[in-house]
């Protein structure tokens, strides 16, 4: 068959009239703040792993109202998230945004920083260094894991290093406690007025703790310290608001089990792939993002356990 110019033109027109399947609706996180204490709101993420559906909204972000405006705890996983966050907080808090705090250097907690570069972004010195070192790599990997939600996102390190355990903004006073164990530097914030602890990823609730930079003994010490403060409420890094201290107990129990399970696997002569397939107690298998997070933990941690189990022989 020979195609006439008219036939070609008609085909072209038909194609134009066809539904534009690539024109998906605009991606939106639809953030819903929940008040958890006087002048303190939490935006609760899902307890899943990163997916193309959740766009990386697996993290808890919070904000507190002060006389100078809102203080935002963690800036979320992407530019798009942080733009929605900024709009929402600006509408809810008449004086706008006073400052941002980064709890630690993992991507879901700081990749919204670029939307707040006109504000002080507080963090521990080591957190700033880690973002500068790994931030671009995290951003690249997040594009791979959640796709278009990340469009335009760039890693921006925090711009203000915390130099004191006291952080007072607009008359509202917070304890800023440098801890660690989940990563090299984990900042815990205690809102003194309401007794609420914002733990970052030192505490998880109904979601498996993540361990890419973990130091388990130090992490457990940090949990003990937070428990000793007897906070009235806890905003964990992932999972629902906690008024009973369950997040501290559960995170501790999982880390204890993980430590024991990896020790046993190494002492029994298992290799990594086998260790990833060991039976998990029901209480931990039921946590969000399993079994992926346990498998990731084996990748992160097993090397040290097997070196401890294998003596030098030459």
């Amino acid at each position: 068959m020979t195609l006439s110019r008219r036939a070609v033109l008609a085909t072209g027109l038909a194609a134009t009239a066809a539904p534009r399947v690539w024109a998906k609706p605009r991606l939106e996180y639809a953030l819903k703040p929940r008040q958890v204490a006087d002048g303190l709101w939490m935006l609760e993420g899902s307890t899943e792993y990163f997916t193309f559906e959740n766009g990386g909204n697996i993290v808890n972000v919070a904000f507190a109202e002060t006389d100078a405006g809102a203080v935002i705890f963690d800036s979320g996983p992407s530019r798009r998230y942080a733009e929605e966050l900024r709009k929402l907080v600006s509408e809810m808090v008449p004086r706008g945004i006073a400052a941002v705090v980064n709890s630690h250097h993992h991507p879901d907690h700081f990749l919204g920083n670029q939307v707040f570069t006109d504000k002080p972004i507080h963090a521990l010195e080591e957190t700033k260094a880690q973002v500068a070192l790994h931030g671009d790599g995290y951003a690249d990997n997040m594009y791979r894991l959640v796709g278009d939600w990340m469009r335009g996102t760039e890693a921006v390190p925090p711009n203000t290093v915390l130099s004191s355990n006291d952080l007072t903004i607009g008359g509202r006073s917070f304890s800023a406690v440098p801890l660690g164990g989940h990563t090299q530097a984990d900042l815990m914030i205690l809102d003194r007025a309401t007794g609420t602890a914002l733990t970052g990823d030192l505490a998880f609730l109904d979601r498996t703790p993540t361990t890419p930079d973990a130091d388990l003994p130090r992490w457990r010490e940090s949990l003990d310290y937070i428990a000793s403060l007897e906070p009235k409420g806890i905003v964990p890094g992932h999972g629902p608001f906690d008024t009973e201290g369950r997040s501290l107990v559960q995170t501790r129990a999982y880390l204890d089990w993980l430590d024991g399970a990896l020790t046993d696997a190494a002492e029994d002569g298992l290799d990594m792939v086998e260790a990833m397939r060991i039976d998990m107690p029901d209480e931990f298998a039921a946590l969000g993002a399993q079994p992926q997070e346990f498998e990731r933990s084996v990748s992160h941690l097993f090397g040290e356990y097997e070196r401890a189990a294998l003596p030098e022989v030459n």
Partner: protein, 259 residues
């Protein structure tokens, strides 16, 4: 005219097949690479089939591109002589060859991944036939072209060739870690520097198993071997050398009491 066309097709068909392997497999991963790999790595065998008895176990996604754990289990096949491990996508596809000898047709180890790819195990039996299995691993990648982590410390030369090892006679397991950078030659200014082979022997010199390593094996190679329960009754010697002539020698003590 039709005759001419037909004759032309007859001539054309063998020419099109020049690049094809002797056996064309129905590749479940459809990477377009399998035929090439059959020829390059397996020397184009005339007997090769896909076989579910060749199990390749690995995490779905590589959390650490420098140390991707993998287990190949071909214990369902008898008279295994060689197991070749290779990937479809990567600058150096061939990872290692395992000659189980007196050991079972089972091996765990780690390798450096450069991008998402199927990983294949081809198992050759003593009659020359090949059996093929595999799994797919997703990865952010970049594991092949970076300098070894060892170079961040200043004592890596003192650690070179250090062996950590242990055997579990009751379960027939042997594990060994050899400290070595395993440089691929793909990182800027760092030439290839790899262990070439590791041999496992009895104290009497009896050959027990042999692993030939290529560049993709991870830094500080880590191997787990399995023998039949009760088959290990004495210490094992492990020996090898790298491409710079450094010797690796160690004896894995026998300890029947440990688990």
């Amino acid at each position: 005219m039709y005759k001419t066309l037909f004759a032309a097709m007859l001539i054309a068909t063998p020419a099109l097949a020049l690049d094809d392997p002797k056996v064309t497999l129905d590749d479940p991963y459809r990477t377009g690479m399998l035929g090439y790999l059959q020829k390059q790595i397996l020397d184009d065998p005339s007997q090769i089939t896909l076989d579910p008895r060749v199990k390749v176990l690995a995490p779905e996604a590589a959390e650490d591109s420098f140390h991707v754990p993998i287990t190949v289990d071909a214990r369902g096949i008898e008279n295994v002589e060689r197991i070749a491990l290779f990937v479809d996508y990567g600058p150096i596809p061939h990872i290692l060859d395992y000659y189980p000898g007196e050991a079972e047709a089972w091996l765990s180890f780690r390798f450096k991944i450069d991008q998402a790819t199927p990983v294949r195990a081809a198992v050759q039996t003593t009659d020359g036939a090949w059996y093929l299995g595999g799994t797919a691993i997703d990865a952010a990648g970049g594991g092949c072209a970076a300098p070894a982590a060892a170079y961040a410390s200043d004592d890596w030369e003192e650690r070179l060739g250090k062996v950590r090892a242990r055997m579990w006679p009751k379960t027939g397991r042997v594990r060994v870690i050899v400290d070595h950078p395993m440089d691929t030659g793909l990182a800027d200014g760092i030439p290839v520097f790899t262990i070439q082979a590791l041999d496992f022997k009895g104290l009497d010199g009896k050959k027990m198993a042999r692993i030939k390593l290529y560049e993709p094996v991870n830094e500080d190679p880590t191997f787990s071997l399995r023998f039949a329960e009760g088959a290990l009754t004495a210490p094992l010697q492990v020996s090898g050398r790298d491409n710079n002539g450094n010797e690796i020698e160690a004896t894995i003590p026998f300890n029947g009491a440990i688990r």
